[in-house]
């Protein structure tokens, strides 16, 4: 059936049409980067190029495929749900949305009591920011410099100008940016008490996973409380057991006022995102429940996928496995790093959230290319291309883990030679 709908003469033909009809710049970028990837088949942590090349996926689209591609349990749940549900009607109370809301709240940090739905992370961030503004009756939003929270109207204004100014979507009057890991700067931004919320990824992904200094996030939460702002934990990338706990923020002893989840929440099968909020932060739901609407927000098939994803992710076996996998990477990457300390300069790791630092401003791009040649797909950090995002799946087997480390070691060595050769020229 797929062949009837999708058919190209060749990969070249397909790429040409991709430039013609879809996104010429992006299509060309990957060709120029030495990653001419067109993903066809996918299974578990493997993706296959249309020409058959197999890659281990350690990009996972920011955790969307935490459970692997086409996880059979999630696929079975969605397939079964399609016999009964579709997207649903967003105006009415829904079986699937209510069940998921209850499941989310029962596994959430203390204090979160209500769930609002979107269809993607950006939309969820917008809902979170709108909710905070409603609750505090303030407009200001503070985020960290080089932050990334999505591309929708409000979300894009919280992020780096890289994505905002092009579309004239920056709003410097309401959205301020402070350096990461700097409590003084945070306090200065909050002091005027005109800020509705501070929004923080628990570990900023697109900035290459710089780790919050010990006590930093708890300190920010304290400042929020002092100056009447809400704390929004963006757990789109860090949540869902990636750090060895369901929500990374709980490792910092912070109970956020709002928590946002997306990407991996529905197992990569059907898009859905969710905002979890305290009673106070979710006040508009009681005042005017029709104030925010989304036809696809909380689509019922997505809710079923998310229920299954949450069940799998919450298994004690899975938590234990993540700890094993994290330790295997600590050891394995540590050994590689010991061999190339001048080039492979650091590992930022919290569980399976990892950023590999290289000693060149564009270092991660070199490594990405060599990894691709060696059968691994990992992406550089858009806002800090020294750092490679390295995000293995939470259900990784020992065999794939070992294979991945071997391929990584070879690619890192080759990229080091590439950089050295470039410097000599």
């Amino acid at each position: 059936m797929t062949e009837e709908l999708i058919s190209f003469a060749s990969k070249q033909d397909m790429l040409a049409k991709s430039k013609q009809f879809w996104n010429p710049d992006k299509t060309q970028f990957w060709i120029d980067s030495g990653v001419p990837l067109v993903i066809d088949r996918r299974e578990g942590y493997f993706i296959y190029d249309v020409e058959g090349k197999r890659l281990i996926d350690v990009h996972l689209n920011g955790g969307t495929y935490n459970l692997g591609h086409r996880n059979p349990e999630v696929a079975a749940a969605v397939t079964a749900a399609m016999q009964r549900f579709d997207i649903g009607n967003h105006h009415f109370p829904s079986l699937a949305r209510t069940a998921l809301a209850e499941a989310l709240i029962s596994t959430a940090p203390d204090g979160l009591t209500k769930v609002m739905y979107g269809s993607g992370g950006g939309e969820a961030i917008d809902i979170a920011l709108k909710s905070a503004r409603h609750a505090t009756k303030k407009r200001g939003i503070v985020s960290v410099a080089k932050a990334y929270h999505g591309h929708t109207g409000l979300a894009v204004a919280t992020g780096d100008e890289r994505f905002a100014t092009l579309f004239l979507a920056d709003r410097p009057d309401e959205f301020s940016h402070v350096p990461f890991n700097d409590t003084d700067a945070m306090e200065a931004a909050l002091k005027a008490r005109d800020v509705a919320a501070v929004i923080m990824e628990t570990i900023p992904a697109t900035y290459g996973f710089p780790l919050p200094a010990p006590g930093y996030l708890a300190g920010v939460k304290k400042l929020c409380e002092r100056y009447g702002a809400l704390y929004i934990a963006d757990e789109v990338q860090t949540g869902l057991m990636r750090t060895g706990e369901l929500w990374a923020i709980s490792k910092h002893g912070v109970n956020p006022d709002i928590l946002v989840t997306g990407k991996g929440i529905s197992g990569g099968m059907y898009p859905v995102s969710a905002v979890l909020a305290t009673e106070a932060a979710a006040g508009w739901l009681t005042e005017d429940g029709f104030a925010h609407m989304s036809t696809f927000g909380g689509a019922e098939l997505g809710c079923v996928a998310a229920l299954k994803t949450l069940e799998i992710t919450g298994r004690p076996e899975v938590r234990s496995m993540v700890h094993y996998i994290a330790a295997a990477f600590t050891d394995g990457l540590g050994m590689i790093q010991a061999q190339y300390p001048d080039w492979f300069t650091g590992v930022r790791q919290d569980g399976l959230v990892m950023g590999l630092e290289f000693g060149h401003p564009q270092g991660a791009k070199f490594v990405m290319k060599r990894l691709y040649e060696n059968g691994v797909w990992a992406i550089f950090s858009t806002l800090d291309p020294r750092v490679l995002q390295y995000k293995p799946g939470i259900l990784l087997t020992p065999a794939v883990c070992e294979e991945l480390l071997e391929r990584t070691e070879v690619a890192i060595a080759k990229a080091r030679d590439d950089v050295a050769a470039g410097a000599r020229r």
């Binding site: 349990e73 940090p109 203390d110 890991n181 700097d182 409590t183 003084d184 710089p210 780790l211 919050p212 200094a213 010990p214 006590g215 930093y216 708890a218 300190g219 304290k222 750090t243 060895g244 706990e245 709980s250 490792k251 910092h252 002893g253 109970n255 799998i312 298994r315 076996e317 899975v318 234990s320 496995m321 993540v322 700890h323 094993y324 996998i325 994290a326 330790a327 600590t330 300069t345 650091g346 590992v347 930022r348 790791q349 919290d350 569980g351 399976l352 630092e357 259900l395 087997t397 020992p398």
Partner: protein
């Protein structure tokens, strides 16, 4: 070992209602794979500490689990189960105290080094009749050899087995074993067991149960050690000490109300010894059924020709009462005489209750034939017993019966199980090729470990290496021996900028803020690090001043 899997009062269709447990079981196997990978590199002292701790936990719960097992299954005798639980925990560990299944062995003369390689993930299928003892036994054998276990208990004994397995697992992990070293299925079902057996992450199945389970294990495509049912003949000739023989047979047959698969099934006695033996049997607590009584008992135990599992592990007086018989209070065994060991004689088949078939034979020679006939019905490869002082008869018996162990002048229940002989103490009797199994011995730790042999060129010109003191194994990281265990396996995933040297950090409790003051490692250069320290210092001061103020 027992025919219960096929005849349990739980129908297959009922068991099929919970295939939902299958994905969870697969998750267990994957966790087990990780745990096994970690455990396979532990050294001998670390393994010893873990084994001792797990065995002690088992022994400490011996009585509680015996009581719970009898309550849950309705089978057996608490006191006897206590004995088995101790024998299969600290008893087994003491038995193998001098053995080493962990350290490489060097044979300089043969120029061979042998490196032990654990099985990996052991799937332990355990029965309802000896539920806890079998769980203890299989788990400890695995721990001794650095394998990890997933226990799938019989549905009739699932609760007590889950508790027992968890107790052992918790004690093992506390002593330094990797997390998930022992896992247990809470809701066993046919599809779930099938999924576990056929999964490639299962390294070996150790199956104790009825024939269907054992056959399924052997047909799964996964290496399997399956042990089938017994049907134990016991021969007594005139050279035996008949008083002792009678006492031993009654003790053995009434032990745990005959739920051990090694319990005697048919007593074969030569005419010359019969009268005296029967007198001694009566004194020891056996009751000889009259022909009409025998018929009533046989009809009751074998309705439609199949053993009714209602009678498994019930005591003799209860069975007599059920048959409407009046027997003396102290009756421990019902003796059911019959003439010929043939398939249509129900009493010649396995009886997991204290009803013992009785056949008189003119000579020992005919007795041996009768014993062979008993084993033709079932129990091939399992066990037999003989009470005699004539080595020639004993040798002829042993060479004729198709079993792989014969208990001599000892009750078979504990004799063939190795608790009252010098056989390996076991809850798992290998029935060998006779019984269509790969293992013919009593299961022991060696069955769960294989050896990589580093074999040198035998040309004397090629020298053998000096392996003195070399071991590829270590104590797990952070493991400081049985008293001072510090590090968990795997370690908790502390963020890389919070790992201090040797510090054992844990996540902050909710509400806690700064949780560590160790210097950041790879994150920061020197000036950033000092800025960070300054920042932390300020945060701490701030907290302190708030405390003082509030």
């Amino acid at each position: 070992m027992t025919p219960e899997m096929s005849r349990a009062p739980v129908s297959v269709s009922e068991l099929l209602t919970d295939p939902a447990g299958v994905p969870r079981a697969r998750a267990m196997l994957q966790r087990a794979e990780w745990a096994g990978r970690s455990f396979a590199r532990y050294d001998k002292p670390a393994v010893d500490a873990i084994v001792r701790a797990a065995a002690a936990a088992g022994a400490a719960g011996a009585r509680e689990y015996a009581e719970r097992a009898v309550r849950e299954t309705g089978f057996g005798v608490v006191e006897h189960k206590v004995l088995k639980n101790v024998a299969c925990s600290t008893g087994v560990v003491e038995h193998y105290a001098g053995h080493d299944f962990v350290t490489p062995r060097v044979d300089a003369a043969a120029k061979v080094v042998e490196v032990p390689r654990p099985a990996g993930v052991v799937l332990a299928l355990t029965p309802s009749t000896n539920p806890v003892a079998t769980v203890f036994f299989k788990c400890l054998l695995a721990l001794m050899t650095r394998s990890v276990v997933v226990v799938s208990p019989h549905p009739l004994a699932k609760e007590v087995c889950a508790h027992a397995a968890r107790a052992l697992g918790e004690a093992a992990v506390k002593a330094g074993a990797p997390d998930g070293v022992i896992q247990v299925v809470d809701e066993p079902s046919v599809p779930l067991i099938d999924a576990l057996m056929t999964d490639e992450r299962t390294s070996v199945i150790v199956a104790t149960g009825g024939l269907p389970v054992v056959h399924a294990a052997h047909s799964s495509g996964t290496p399997a050690i399956g042990v089938g049912p017994g049907n134990v003949p016991v021969l007594v000739d005139a050279t035996a000490d008949l008083a002792k023989a009678a006492r031993r047979i009654v003790d053995s047959k009434s032990f745990d109300n005959s739920v051990l698969c090694t319990n005697e099934s048919v007593l074969i006695v030569t005419e010359l010894a019969a009268t005296a033996l029967l007198r001694h049997l009566k004194q020891a607590g056996a009751y000889l059924l009259a022909p009409d009584e025998r018929d009533r008992v046989a009809a009751m135990l074998f309705p439609g020709g199949r053993f009714d599992i209602r009678f498994v592990g019930k005591d003799a007086s209860w069975i007599a009462a059920e048959a409407g018989l009046r027997v003396p209070n102290r009756t421990r065994v019902l003796l059911a005489p019959f003439d010929l060991v043939v398939p249509e004689e129900p009493l010649a088949h396995e009886k997991l209750c204290p009803v013992l078939g009785l056949v008189r034979v003119p000579t020992a020679r005919r007795g041996i034939d009768a014993a062979r006939a008993v084993l033709r019905l079932s129990g091939r490869g399992h066990s037999a017993a003989i009470h005699s002082t004539d080595p020639q008869v004993i040798m002829e018996y042993g060479a004729a019966v198709e079993v792989l162990r014969v208990a001599v002048n000892v009750g078979n229940s504990l004799g063939s199980a190795g608790l009252e002989t010098n056989l390996a103490p076991t809850m798992t009797i290998g029935t060998g090729f006779f019984g269509r199994s790969s293992v013919g011995e009593n299961l022991h730790p060696s069955h769960l470990v294989q050896w990589t042999r580093l074999a040198y060129n035998r040309d004397p010109a090629e020298p053998f290496g000096d392996f003195t003191g070399l071991t590829p194994w270590q104590a797990p990281a952070g493991h400081q021996g049985p008293q001072g265990h510090q590090g968990a396996q795997p370690p908790y995933p502390v963020a890389s900028n919070q790992r201090g040297d040797g510090a054992d950090l844990r996540p902050a409790a909710a509400g806690g803020g700064g949780q560590a003051n160790s210097p950041a490692r790879s994150e920061l250069n020197g000036s950033d690090a000092s800025a960070l320290r300054e920042q932390i210092r300020r945060l701490i001061l701030e907290e302190l001043s708030q405390l003082a103020g509030g």
